[in-house]
Subunit: 117 residues, 2 copies
DNA sequence: GTATTAGTTGAGCAACTGTTCAACTATATA
DNA sequence: TATATAGTTGAACAGTTGCTCAACTAATAC
């Protein structure tokens, strides 16, 4: 993802490029942003998020709903936790997960809108 | 991503699971939704989308802005095209790309909000 | 027609990712 | 204490992905 000093093209629209350049995301921010969206970009994780949108659930509930092992679910929940997409609370032996904030719901909504339009 | 008939856990919260189950995404829709988000989940593609949000750009402009080859950009644009995240118009030798609709902008916005809060 | 530049495409490969498996920690109960 | 269930974690492996390279098509100019 390194930026080359010069461009291979001859007919760049220089005025437009110069105007756009300062509004680009920095490398670090682009990678961080992509990392968040990457978490929505997997069938298992997006089904986990959709399920948590309906109700908080423990790891077992999710494993049962999605037909996966607790291990697989737990691995994915860890990734979702690290990017603050889900939060959790322990109650006795159970750990209940839920969506972290309304951004997560909003992103799911808009994605579905895009699909269904 | 196949669903097992039974769950490995003993203490599933059956009433909650039963309530959530009918609201889950189907397998096909979950995969389609994940496929869309996957496109946002790469540093190069998210920088392309952010750049197109500012102004329509040709492949060369993007290659120049991001410091990548035309081939690399074109490959990514094809993926974005196939999921209707960008549209394009040809003008002489140039092909100008722009964002397909306001959903794309909205998803970028909310993702950035989540990062920056 | 040829030449030039813009853009696309398929193959190949290195890097990454999601699941499984086994071993582990945490909490509760007897 | 020992036992059982819930949950986590690291390694390993198969499957996926993004870039490069080379060859190709598209439009313009001569």
């Amino acid at each position: 993802m390194a930026r080359l000093p010069v461009c291979e093209c001859e007919s760049v629209h220089q005025d437009i490029v110069d105007a756009v350049k300062p509004q680009l995301l920095g490398d670090a921010e682009a990678i961080d942003l992509a990392s968040v969206f990457k978490l929505f970009g997997d069938g298992t994780r997006v089904r986990i998020l959709q399920a948590l949108r309906v109700h908080e659930l423990c790891v077992c509930d999710l494993a049962c709903l999605l037909g996966l092992t607790k291990s697989a679910i737990s691995h994915q929940l860890k990734a979702l936790r690290l990017s603050n997409l889900v939060k959790f609370r322990r109650e006795a032996q159970n750990v209940f997960y839920s969506l972290a904030d309304e951004h997560v719901e909003a992103i799911l909504d808009i994605g579905l809108e895009h699909l269904r339009e």
